[in-house]
Symmetry: C2
Subunit: 223 residues, 2 copies
């Protein structure tokens, strides 16, 4: 198995996360680096979605990935093996989210030279990561079909801070009571501007639409 | 739709959660009330599992439920409608977990007279709830098949604090790359004493084993 770099994230010393996140966002913009913060519940398929997305975009953009996890390194290794791109693991040491300063510690561990897009895979959690601005240009989340279409009712903040909601595992929709139209309606209640993209990361269906959205976002930031 | 009581939970004033949790555990024991803390990721099927379990046990035990959620009331209403037992909703106001003092606020909203078993459905989150002792006699968690068998590797603390791990949605195992034996092995790495109970809450298969475990726990505490 490939070795990946592992960074043990320290607790932030800055009290003012919002200020720090705005400063980081500006710094990244000045360097021409687009940071996407990807959030979801545990087991929604973030890593598989990323692999498929990166393989669609890696000829068009130079991409790096930061995989945040409490303890394990499996995701960063998977990404590296399946895509060949620069991938590092951030250990949060039990912490349930990343803020801007913690994100900066991760970015310091990457070689950002020539990189267009950095994707941060946040800790699998629909509550805390929504409360902390990481300094990313955009927030994305993945909701998977088995979790149910009522999640925007139960985790309102997460849906309201996300620019795009990817709905994954659409292939198993027939086996679950998942109502896509109802889900879109609930997402719109929380955030009328959120883009909704149904996909199946396993088969790759729909991933093209997410990749296209991301490509446009990066290009818009750069011009 | 039935109306349920909703309690807005306030932040704890006690700094020493561990002490407070031990005190609450003793108080409940003295009153003959068994408190079960049920945790899981969002959408793993906690409420459906509870409904099936309660309907198997409600002739043997007097049960009450506290449903913790950030905002909505849907779960407490569902429980009340499907089982007829005492069910209240706790609003955490954005908080990602419950500690002992918050649990106590919920218990104060219940009529505990003659109640044998109180089940606390914690916030859907595999990180933070594991860090805070609620004062419960036992911790249970539900892992659902679509989340993947690798979750004990990624959320070590949650699995190490749970006395029982219910594996839900076994009916869809053929559609997911879920390895039950591997999952059991990973759970045992975190917690060799954890009991593992595979179920399908939707069909009710296996729920009897969880209900039986719970009944024995309550009876043991009372004698």
């Amino acid at each position: 198995m490939d070795k990946v770099r592992v960074i043990e994230i320290k607790k932030s010393v800055f009290a003012e996360n919002e200020q720090d996140a705005n400063a980081l966002r500006q710094e990244l913009k000045d360097r021409g680096v687009y940071l996407l913060n990807l959030m979801s519940a545990p087991g929604s398929g973030k890593t598989t979605t990323l692999i498929k997305t990166i393989n669609l975009l890696k000829d068009k953009l130079r991409i790096a990935v930061m995989e945040a996890d409490i303890d394990s390194d499996v995701d960063a290794v998977k990404i590296k093996e399946a895509t060949g791109i620069q991938s590092i693991q951030l250990h949060t040491g039990g912490m349930c989210h990343l803020d801007a300063e913690m994100t900066r510690q991760g970015l310091d561990g990457l070689d950002l030279d020539g990189v267009d897009l950095v994707i941060l895979e946040n800790v699998g959690n629909l509550v805390c990561p929504a409360e902390f601005d990481t300094g990313a240009a955009r927030n994305a989340m993945i909701l998977s079909v088995p979790e149910g279409h009522d999640k925007p009712l139960k985790y309102p903040l997460m849906f309201s801070v996300c620019d795009v909601v990817v709905i994954n595992k659409m292939d198993v929709a027939p086996y679950f009571d998942f109502d896509l139209e109802k889900c879109k309606e609930y997402i719109a209640m929380r955030n009328p501007n959120a883009k909704v993209i149904p996909i199946c990361a396993k088969t790759g269906e729909g991933v093209e639409a997410f990749a296209q959205w991301l490509l446009e976002q990066v290009q818009t930031l750069k011009h």
